[in-house]
């Protein structure tokens, strides 16, 4: 009656994952101290996404989860991106944004 399709391993993997996350946190803080212009945002987001993936795969056991649940969770990000993408499409293409916002 085991729920778990995956066998139980030791706690080593969790410790490794934690160490990885700490290293990535240090990297993202360190990179932020250097001014790279627009690249800063991009790098910070890439590192954050890497951390998020690590948490999802090993802490949330995405690696052993059913395909259905993977699709379900992925859907959330797809629709959040649609939300952002189409809203951004409007704001970004409004002509002379500077003039539009009178209070700027």
């Amino acid at each position: 009656m085991a729920h778990d399709a995956h066998e139980i391993k030791g706690i080593g993997i969790y410790l490794k994952v934690f160490a990885t996350l700490i290293v990535l946190t240090i990297v993202t803080v360190a990179v932020a101290q250097v001014n790279l212009g627009r690249l800063n945002t991009l790098i910070a987001m890439l590192i954050a996404t890497a951390k998020a993936l690590v948490v999802m795969i090993w802490f949330m056991h995405m690696n052993h989860e059913s395909t259905l649940n993977r699709i379900v969770f992925g859907t959330a990000f797809i629709f959040a991106l649609i939300f952002y993408g189409l809203t951004f499409m409007d704001v970004d293409t409004r002509i002379n944004l500077q003039n539009l916002f009178i209070n700027k």
Binding site: N99, L100, F101, I102, N103
Partner: protein, 307 residues
């Protein structure tokens, strides 16, 4: 049947063409669908409770047809609609510009020479006009049915639309974005006149000497005070002006105040400061910065005169 409003701008013709195409393709598809349905209802009426029916699970070709044909028609309509819309949004460079500021519940038009009008827009026939829109308080929408144009006036933002009138006459101007109590009263007239008449209109000196009371009366109408304050004693959104001057009134939160010059001045500039008991809050726009000293004085004189 004359179901469409008169077309009185250059957009009218193109617009009505798209409209007619969509209308007739809609009518035809509805006749096919609803007609087919009604025909089947009678043709295949149940005769006995043991009727055998055809076992038709699907027909890929038919299903492809009635997905693909609508898709093509819809895309065509969208493209055509976009073409006409593009003209509406491509602004001519030689247009007459009129600034329009919306507020609860009036349209204020300002011409390039400083001439202002409320609730009435005068434009020359056959000349492109660009309306630059903004709002003082909430979102309003500038709509002239006969010209087929509409654009929201958003506070803190500038938006615009343009048209070229083709016929002289007077046309309705509506507010189509819900803006509160007197939304349905936020009307205006668009007066399309010949170029010569328009030039004469622009040449009129709006700043000719008028008495303060007369100026106050004009402001009373132009600044939309009239929408909420009557002069016949009937309270509307705000108190009536009749006999209010010098009277002692109860204010919200306790206390009384005499409606003297200072109180009236304060109430115009900052209406929220002292609200008279029994009237709603947050209804009146703030006029701080919108009126100059002469105008405020004129308004006070006008209110004084309402005995």
């Amino acid at each position: 049947m004359k179901y469409m409003p008169l077309q009185a701008s250059t957009f009218g013709e193109d617009w009505d063409l798209v409209w007619n195409f969509v209308l007739w393709s809609s009518i035809i598809s509805c006749i096919i669908l609803i007609g087919g349905m009604i025909y089947f209802i009678f043709r295949y009426q149940r005769k006995t409770d043991k009727d055998k029916t055809a076992y038709i699970t699907h027909n890929t070709f038919a299903e492809f047809l009635w997905s693909f044909i609508p898709l093509v028609v819809f895309m065509g309509i969208a493209a055509w609609g976009w073409e006409v819309y593009k003209d509406m949004r491509t602004f001519p460079t030689d247009a007459l510009e009129v600034n329009v500021t919306a507020q609860k519940w009036a349209w204020n038009m300002t011409y390039s020479n400083g001439r202002t009008l409320t609730g009435k827009l005068v434009v020359p026939v056959g000349k492109p006009v660009t309306i630059l829109l903004t709002s003082k308080d909430v979102i309003h929408s500038f709509f002239i049915p006969s010209f087929r144009v509409k654009q929201d006036a958003v506070p803190g933002r500038r938006s615009k639309l343009w048209f070229q009138a083709t016929r002289e006459g007077n046309y309705h101007l509506f507010c189509t974005e819900y803006c509160g109590m007197n939304h349905s009263g936020m009307l205006g007239t668009v007066s399309v006149v010949a170029q010569a008449d328009f030039d004469a209109f622009m040449a009129e000196n709006p700043n000719a000497e008028v008495s303060p009371i007369e100026l106050g009366k004009q402001l009373y109408q132009q600044q939309a005070c009239i929408g909420c304050h009557t002069t016949d004693g009937k309270p509307l959104v705000g108190p009536s002006f009749q006999g209010i001057f010098g009277k002692s009134v109860k204010i919200k939160g306790g206390g009384t105040v005499t409606a003297d010059e200072n109180y009236i001045r304060e109430s115009i500039l900052n209406p929220a400061a002292k609200i008279v008991e029994g009237f709603p809050e947050n209804q009146m726009p703030v006029y701080q910065g919108a009126l100059n000293e002469d105008q405020i004085t004129a308004l006070i004189e006008f209110i004084k005169a309402q005995k």
